[in-house]
């Protein structure tokens, strides 16, 4: 029962900036971690599900936030945005895990694909790749910028940075040298930087 004069319990961090949350996490504030989890876990989970199955995505999601809990002091706002720093952490965590994960898939241990198509299947289907772009990103500017890229550059960026494939895997699948895939990804990133100048 709540008396009329009582205010409902409020999350003390609900209106805080990400930088304030990270500072509080450095001071071991678990409520701040909970707030940051609520703001970011959905994106991390969606990103991970593009590369691994549900089971591994859940395992990695937990890993990522525990790594954040331990390493928050390494984030320096003066050196860049939290999103850039955090996504680097997520990406590195994913790529650390992929070799053992792929080994597990090879031996057919329990695993269900998280999405309708695996990243390797997407390499072979132009239609699915476009769908993949549209469904992954909410921001129309980003979707349009990706559409403005030459298809081979878009494919290289999406499959490596957002599809959980190594450049060697994409090269093998497309029967191209790794250097070609590297070149495409690099050119694509440079062009995207021009098309999305806020990121500079």
């Amino acid at each position: 029962m709540r008396f009329a004069s009582e205010k409902p319990l409020q999350n003390p961090w609900a209106n805080s900036s990400v930088e304030e949350l990270v500072k509080a996490i450095v001071r071991s504030d678990t409520e701040a971690l909970g707030e940051l989890y609520d703001r970011y876990s959905g994106r991390v989970y969606a990103f991970l599900l593009r590369s691994v199955d549900k089971e591994m995505a859940e395992e990695l999601l937990q890993d990522v936030f525990l790594a954040l809990w331990q390493k928050a002091a390494m984030f320096k706002p003066a050196l860049g945005s939290f999103d850039a720093w955090f996504f680097t952490l997520v990406r590195h965590r994913l790529y650390d895990t992929l070799p053992s994960y792929q080994k597990r898939l090879k031996y057919n241990l329990p695993s269900q694909p998280a999405t309708g198509s695996s990243p390797l299947e997407l390499v072979e289907s132009k239609f699915d790749l476009e769908e993949y772009v549209i469904h992954l990103f909410r921001d129309a500017d980003i979707r349009n910028a990706l559409k403005d890229l030459p298809p081979d550059q878009r494919q290289a960026i999406l499959l490596t940075y957002f599809g959980g494939l190594s450049q060697r895997e994409v090269a093998a699948k497309l029967n191209l040298p790794v250097s070609t895939i590297k070149g495409r990804a690099r050119m694509g990133l440079q062009k995207l930087r021009q098309l999305l100048p806020e990121a500079l």
């Binding site: 994106r43 859940e58 999601l61 329990p110």
Partner: protein, 253 residues
């Protein structure tokens, strides 16, 4: 030192986190010293961060949040540790008002210095240990072995444990979550197999939330010789060097 051309050649692998060991160290050293490469790579990281911000979220199962919060709470420094960190007796200040007391004060100061010296030593050891744990849980060459009840579908609420190991480290870390308290007179014990020997990792001491962490010393750096690790339920009074009951959670190479 790595040259700018070489950095440009491997920067995509760096961004993806595919670089390891010496190459990673070299590029990080280069980025500390070369503002041009640093700015370019930072630009790519910001671009990828911007794209990540736009990813349409999917709601993960609530149990993952619970597990994250339980782990974080379990790893929070206790009040005792916090107060120990802040302890600094000179903060209260002293003033040489009574000349007669100076001698006694000096003696007390000497004793305090000794206490402080011992505390600082303890603190250094604890910091060293924390650093080792941090490296074990964050460096790319760490091996993480997941101990599970079996090959069934993943159940985030079922008990599970992990062993973190690095060839370069002289400790292992074992973390456990979702455990129910051991029955009366029993304890959970951790074991690992090095070559053909079963070594005892010690007792898994659970907190009130069913989580635990255990540090095992490995002065011989046996990481690469470990072929399996597991957890069993043992008699609390039995100081056995070998397991006497079947594994509850297992990892096998």
């Amino acid at each position: 030192m790595m040259k700018c051309e070489k950095v440009a050649e491997v920067e995509d692998s760096y961004l993806l986190g595919e670089l390891e060991g010496e190459q990673m160290k070299q590029i990080e050293q280069h980025l500390k010293e070369c503002s041009s490469c640093r700015q370019r790579i930072k630009g790519y990281e910001e671009l990828l961060g911007q794209m990540f911000s736009s990813v349409a979220p999917l709601e993960p199962p609530a149990s993952i949040r619970e597990a994250v919060m339980a782990h974080a709470t379990a790893r929070q420094p206790t009040k005792k540790e916090k107060s120990k960190r802040k302890y600094w007796p000179f903060n209260s200040g002293f003033s040489p008002v009574w000349v007669v007391g100076v001698a006694a004060y000096s003696l007390a100061l000497l004793a305090l210095s000794l206490v402080l010296f011992l505390q600082v030593q303890d603190l250094n050891k604890s910091q060293e240990q924390n650093q080792k744990v941090l490296e074990l849980t964050s460096l790319p060459d760490t091996l993480i072995w997941l101990m599970t009840p079996g090959d069934g579908p993943f159940n985030p609420t079922a008990p599970r444990a992990r062993m973190y190991a690095r060839q370069a480290s002289d400790i292992y870390l074992v973390t456990a979550i979702n455990f129910t308290p051991a029955p009366s007179g029993k304890v959970y014990k951790m074991w690992y197999v090095v070559g053909d020997k079963i070594e005892s990792g010690g007792v898994i001491s659970l907190d009130g939330r069913g989580t635990a962490s255990l540090i095992i010393n490995d002065p011989d750096h046996n990481t690469l010789k470990i072929s399996s690790c597991y957890i069993t339920l043992e008699d609390a009074n039995l100081n056995n060097s070998q397991p006497t009951s079947p594994p509850l959670l297992t990892w096998k190479k």
